[in-house]
Amino acid sequence: MTATAADQSLQQDVPSAQAVPEVDFDTAPDRYRHWKLEVNGEVAKVTLAVDENGGLVPGYDLKMNSYDLGVDIELYDAVQRLRFEHPEVKAVVMTSALERMFCAGANIRMLGQSSHAWKVNFCKFTNETRNGIEDATEHSGQTWIAALNGTAAGGGYELALACDQIVLIDDGSSTVSLPEVPLLGVLPGTGGLTRVVDKRHVRKDRADLFATKSEGYRGATAVDWGLIDGTVPRASFEQEIARRAEEAAAGSRRAGEQGVTLTPLDRTQTESQIEYPHVKARLDREARRVEITVHAPGTPPPADAAEVLAQGVDYWPMAVTRELDDLILRLRTNETELGTWVLRTSGDVDQVLAYDQQLRDLADDWFVNEVVHYYKRTMKRLDVTSRSMIAVIEPGSCFAGLLLELALAADRQYMLEGVYEDVDPDADPAAIVLTESNNGPFPMGNGLTRLESRFWGHDEGLERARGLFGERLDARAADGAGLVTLALDDIDFEEELRIVLEERASLSPDALTGMEANHRFVGPETLETKIFGRLTAWQNWIFYRPNASGPDGALRRYGSGQRGHYDMTRV
């Protein structure tokens, strides 16, 4: 995603990695420092106007509309608000407030001073946000249009690539470019290479020319090759954008009048826990793990779509999703040493199933549709999270339907057979329930459901599991159906779990991340899996190589007046 105009920053010596602040994902349009969100009937406009002095971490200026994580957190907020607060918006125009500069991409100086882990997490979040933009176009009838009123370089062009349409001003000098390879010795990190060939179908030799030509291409060639959809002179630029927005809005099936305001989350946080109404996380720093419990709704679902909408952010599936989303982001960014997440659920299975059913019954409602897709995106966040996830299924748990996705997303599932005799011998043994929710609405990035992924290459097992929808499966049945890793009775359960978690915490975190990422994504490649797998893996390798991040590497030398010095050995 990195790129820059030549004067983005005049680098001095690269400072050592700055102390990383605790990152907060809470924001709202009235607090944005870098974006402006305007809604005008069916068309919204998000305008990038990065506050140069508004970097999340000291040590760099966000010149030329270059961005850091803080800028992207606001963008993510805007994308979410457009979907939930503005059912009337059917097209979104993304543009810049700067003259002749749309966006210079990720800030190079920021990247130069960041730790590897910070860079990787930053890329992951920005990738998820761009996927979210595509998701809005595809599933919400909210078409994003990039109005490039100036040069879009590197990450700036990648932002545009996430939009459905790209229009570049034809002023004789503005270009689109991916200058990472020639200038910085790294890759465009938010899907640029992938989207150029996979989404926009640019021929690979032209893509090769494009990605090695630092100044990029102006409008005419860019249109000809498919890098953008149109280029128009300044005089008619606004008009052309408006035309496209209206056309997109006219084709949208998005229907809704009153939006749901994303009020601030009810979150309490201490050194050892993060708590929301329905999601609680206990941070065990000594054992390097987080114990996450998702709670079932306390009341039955509201009667109809109108009442669902009236509940808004308090509608249980919405509330749980928001809380999980926030928790995942915070743990991922701020708690990098807590390497194992233990996933539990608690509450009434029937209540969960009632809501689960309602999500299907009201699937045509715009708000319910948004909730379903939000939960889908949140589960996808889990899939690409570099933490070991262990689901623990005990009496009192409610892994049913949509909540069962949590267990299916986990790397392993441990289920107690029977009850804890010494704790509550009269408890009902744990049961899990598969529903249609496990059969389509929450696919992974590879396009498969987690159930399909689990039974990849075992069609009979998949069919057998599909035959169990709606049934309460106790430990034996769940084990028999291949839905849990181990079903153990209480004689072994706690000890086994303790040992498993301790063992996990002792293994190399790097090897685990790589192993888990390989195991989680079976089957076909998609744009998303290529970005999170192939592109990210290569980028991370390149980031670590001296050619990029060594003292004489291109990333470190950028802006110093010296080019990177490369070890010319091909690996």
């Binding site: 301790e502 063992e503 915490a505 002792s506």
Partner: protein, 492 residues
């Protein structure tokens, strides 16, 4: 009958009711009666163990045997003698007394409290160590299964059975650890301990020496002297483990192991004494025709058993051994008595290896050579017994002496594997080795002639002609005591 609204009435029990009180049947000091989890695990395992004992334990039918049974860990409790039918032997579970202040004495956790639970980080390694140790225990019972048929005396027969039941108890000790601390995987490994069998081509015991046939009593004595001594040294390292239940288990096992050493030491000694008598009486080395075992054949048996037992220590240089040490899983022999930092990161030692047909030395990091450290301790201990046997020769006025072969002789593991070294330590080429090895290792003909001497002697107080009686009996009983009552068919 209990009826529950949710589940309905309980089904009527079928099959025989268990009469076994496990806390009574399994003497223990691990509070078995109060541990539901362990009890249930052992309930599942005990019938399998008994099946194994009946199928692969001692083949000679007996009514009962005068056995030492551990009924408690105290001074009086661990050596309690009585006549018991072997299948009713009370295989108990005993751990040495716990020291609540015990610390880890070596490695990177040195100074921290000893572990009362298995740390997840070390589960796999600890389980492997316990499984390997546990695998050897039943293996030797299997190897010695038919020896009772040729026992040179009732006294020796009793000693054989004592060794056998105690190996069985040592298996219980390891199975206890697997059951108590390693969950389901531990139980599966415990079952596998009974499924692998010595010499079984499809499912052999883990270590090579435990798949060798025990053909005769001389080999049995050599086995208990040399191979059980390896066990003693392995137990000695596990006794130092940071995992306290393992340490305490092994500490107690070492007490019993001493008896096995005794059987080996005195067994070889009595054989040597008889050979010396015959040599003097007939003025010849070849005492086969006079009903004894020639000293040269005893030396060959010694050569063989010593060399295969040396292999049990593994490669001289071992990353695993270093990791086990640094992690606190397995210490050195007499760890706490050693005068060093017990971390060894900067220490080195010399080790032999073969280069260009010569045995030369190199300096290696101590941590990498802990197997060698243990093997050296072992070899020094082995030399004590040899000195004792030579004393018998000297007392008899003979010039001949037994000796331990060179550490490189007949080795299949470590730096000497793929080389040939004579008992005196010369490096040999293949042809020379092939030509001379029958002079150093028991040939089939040697074994055949030894086997010919192995005729049972079941009359109380009588001894086969190739061995002298012991000077005293067991537990202050006379030598002619009725240590074993054979079953009727055993006499036929």
């Amino acid at each position: 009958m209990t009826t529950d609204a949710r589940t309905g009435p309980a089904p009527t029990p079928t099959g025989p009711l268990s009469q076994i009180d496990y806390s009574e049947r399994i003497p223990n000091n691990v509070n078995l009666a109060s541990d539901r989890r362990l009890q249930r695990a052992l309930e599942g395992w005990q019938p399998k163990f008994l099946d194994w004992w009946k199928t692969l334990g001692p083949a000679l039918p007996t009514k009962d045997v005068y056995l030492r049974t551990a009924v408690a860990v105290g001074r009086d409790g661990w050596a309690h003698f009585e006549h018991v039918p072997m299948e009713d032997y009370r295989w108990g579970i005993f751990l040495a007394e716990q020291d609540p202040d015990r610390k880890v004495n070596f490695g990177k956790h040195k100074g921290e409290p000893a572990w009362q639970e298995v740390p997840g980080e070390h589960r796999a390694d600890l389980m492997r160590l316990i499984v390997v140790q546990g695998d050897t225990e039943p293996a030797s019972v299997e190897q010695q299964r038919i020896l009772g048929n040729t026992a040179p005396s009732i006294y020796d027969l009793r000693n054989l059975f004592q060794v056998n039941v105690e190996e069985g108890r040592h298996l219980w000790a390891m199975v206890y650890l697997l059951h108590a601390y390693f969950g389901r995987e531990g139980r599966e490994e415990a079952e596998q301990l009974l499924k692998r069998n010595s010499g079984d081509l499809d499912s052999p015991r883990i270590l090579g020496a435990f798949n060798e046939e025990t053909t005769d009593w001389l080999q049995f004595f050599m086995f208990t002297y040399f191979t059980d001594r390896d066990g003693k040294y392995q137990l000695g390292t596990l006794k130092e483990s940071a995992f306290d239940p393992l340490a305490r288990t092994c500490e107690f096992m070492l007490k019993e192991e001493a008896h096995h050493m005794f059987v080996g030491t005195t067994g070889v000694q009595r054989t040597v004494e008889r050979t010396a008598e015959l040599m003097k009486e007939h003025g010849t080395d070849d005492v086969f025709e006079h009903g004894g075992i020639p000293l040269s054949v005893i030396q060959k048996y010694l050569n063989f058993q010593f060399s295969v037992s040396m292999d049990l220590f593994g490669s001289e240089q071992s990353t695993n051994a270093g990791n086990y040490y640094s992690s606190g899983l397995k210490g050195r022999w007499q760890e706490t008595r050693r005068k060093d930092d017990h971390v060894l990161l900067d220490d080195t030692r010399e080790m032999n290896y073969i280069e260009n047909g010569k045995i030369v030395q190199k300096t290696v990091p101590m941590l990498s050579a802990l197997n060698l450290d243990l093997r050296d301790e072992y070899a020094a201990d082995c030399a004590n017994g040899v000195r004792r046997w030579n004393q018998a020769l000297e007392d008899a006025g003979l010039e001949e002496r037994l000796f331990l072969p060179h550490e490189g002789f007949n080795r299949r593991v470590g730096v000497y594997a793929n080389h040939h070294v004579s008992p005196e330590g010369e490096v040999l080429d293949d042809a020379t080795w092939e030509q001379r090895k029958d002079a150093w290792l028991p040939s089939p003909e040697d074994r055949r002639r030894v086997a010919e001497l192995m005729v049972p002697e079941y009359e109380y107080g009588k001894f086969a002609g190739w061995i002298t009686p012991p000077s005293t009996g067991i537990n202050d009983q006379p030598v002619e005591f009725d240590y074993v009552h054979l079953a009727e068919e055993g006499l036929a």
